[in-house]
Amino acid sequence: MSKSMIGYIMSISVLLLAIWLGVSVGSVKVPIQTLWDTGADAIATNIVWKIRMPRVVLAGLVGASLAIAGAAFQSLLKNPLADPYTLGVSSGASVGAVATLFFGISIPFLGIFTLPVFSMVGALVTMLLVISFAKLVDRGMKMETIILTGIIFSSFLGSVISLMIALTGEELRQIIGWLLGSVSMRGWSFVQMALPFVIIGTFLLWINRRELNAMLFGEERAKHLGVDVKKRKMMILIGGSMLTGTAVSVSGTIGFVGLVVPHMTRLLFGSDNRHVLPLSFINGASLLIICDLVSRTIISPTELPIGVITAFIGAPVFAFIFFKQRKKGGV
């Protein structure tokens, strides 16, 4: 069996396990049969179908989006430290979303999609600005240049958010609550809102999986290999921004997923983007479902912020794998 085959089997098994645990474990223990058992307790059915399921699904979508976006950014920029957060793209998405809440923007034509669309626009604009600025500073776009540019933009955008929060007064708590990052109580409407964009964004990245492989050797080489670099790059940036923007707009800012998952995936199953992208997608979903599960059960019935868990689980796991691989002489 090939390495990637094992990767898919393992990843999908973990995802199924995560979903099963995510649905059945909680402050109220519900057997999985409740999902299809019509004679089950009304309260349990209600909790599972209307509170827990959408939460699990949303966590999965957000995790998957952030992870695949991170994987794509890392390959595109040939930068192992790139992820929606380090690049400032998440901050851009947050500014878009907070501005929507702050100004009470609602475009009739977009309806419930106003927030994610603004968030995505914020993400894309930031991404483009970060890349152009980094290019301006250093044509070679070294790893440090991009990350430093990302930090500059993140700090600036962070201050814009703080400013908007300071000026809101009464709705302050609403915006802060949203910024903290959570998949709690979003319901099916948020799943509906996010799903189309997750599909489109993922599709945009997926059709560029081979081009991403080529670009790992540098844009010049990619050009020689027959890749329309400009067009492909734009597609990848739009796809990644779309995914980041969607994730941020439904769940606020949840860190670490976009960085840890693609690396873990590469370390475990190889760095061919044809497999890294889909495997990151699956593993990102599993990771966030498990993190959310932990955040709501570890000190139940009290909840922890999910970002605490993503960092708490993500960082040591990452360190462990990194260490093992180094020992083996890999990476």
Binding site: G26, S27, A42, Q174, G177, M185, R296
Partner: protein
């Protein structure tokens, strides 16, 4: 000096503890003289953090650092004497016109420039404000830290302490008496209800639903009203898993915030909440955050509002 003061305190406590008829008797004997001693300046008081505060005369320029202090000071009739208040004042109306000295982080320079005779701080802010308070003390500003009341009885003590420090002890005792009468009346009404109701108190909206557990003023209010807080096994203010609310199924849901428009309707329409008794019985009620949490004279209003929200039947006549 200190001993005499102690006797006075005990006498006052005795006075407060007695019924009305007895009060008269006590007043005529020992209290009369000690009460007059009480308002006699100079006096030395010990505040909540153990600092001795000596007042030469009744303060004429007072700064209140938190809204509950402000409410008490206004109730004592010190409208003219109050010269500085917190940024987040909401009651009484007059408080909004006073000079602002800052919010959570007060402006030391501003306070110094107002040259107050006394600053009323609060035990609850000492943790984060200690350095600032020390700066004030070092600049020879009298700082009196009001103790953080856990229940109504401690609030009564707080009101009297502040009354004593401002030479308004009689007024303070009157306020406390009035509060006690009203509390008694409300409690009598709710005692008549047949079945005890379960209550969920929500202090912030999704996605971060916070509630009040044990050790909060709301818990105290619910205890007084013969109602059960479904989250009383939790300590303090906690972020709660929404599933838990549904499964513990409260009879009444109290919403103590107003920063979300149409929140009551939103709560009723929350996904998965339709099996909750409170929602089925249309018992989701918004109550005033200030009157149910500020340790001042308006607590009785808060108590009554919560009582009516939980047991409307007891107040129907």
């Amino acid at each position: 000096m200190k001993k005499r003061w102690l006797i006075a305190v005990m006498a006052v406590l005795l006075l407060v503890g007695c019924g009305q008829e007895e009060t008269k008797k006590v007043e005529s004997t020992e209290t009369e003289q000690s009460a007059s001693e009480n308002i006699e300046f100079p006096m030395t008081l010990t505040d909540a953090v153990g600092e001795e505060v000596t007042l030469e005369a009744a303060p004429e320029k007072i700064i209140s650092m938190i809204p509950s202090n402000t409410e008490i000071l206004f109730a004592l009739g010190l409208n003219e004497e109050i010269i500085g208040v917190n940024d987040f004042e909401s009651y009484p109306e007059e408080a909004l016109e006073k000079e602002k000295i800052g919010g959570m982080e007060f402006n030391v320079e501003k306070i110094l420039s107002l040259d107050p005779d006394i600053v009323f701080a609060h035990e609850s802010i000492v943790g984060m404000a200690e350095a600032g308070l020390q700066q004030l003390r070092d600049s020879n500003i009298l700082v009196y830290v009001v103790s953080d009341a856990k229940d109504f009885d401690e609030t009564y003590t707080t009101i009297e302490e502040m009354g004593r420090a401002t030479g308004k002890l009689k007024e303070a005792q009157k306020i406390v008496e009035d509060m006690k009468v009203k509390v008694e009346d409300i409690q009598q009404k709710v005692q008549k209800v047949e079945s005890k109701k379960t209550v969920f108190v929500e202090t912030s909206d999704v996605p971060e639903i916070y509630t009040t557990g044990n050790g909060t003023f709301m818990q105290e209010i619910l205890n007084m009203l013969n109602a059960t807080n479904i989250m009383e096994d939790q300590e303090g203010w906690v972020k709660i898993d929404p599933e838990e609310i549904v499964s513990r199924n409260p009879d009444v849901m109290l919403i103590t915030y107003d920063y979300v428009e149409g929140i009551v309707e939103q709560v009723k329409q929350r996904d998965g909440f339709d099996t909750v008794t409170a929602i089925q019985n249309d018992a989701v009620i918004q109550v005033n955050e200030d009157t149910t949490s500020r340790q001042g004279p308006r607590l009785v209003e808060g108590l009554e509002e919560v009582a009516k929200a939980i047991y409307p039947e007891a107040f129907s006549e």
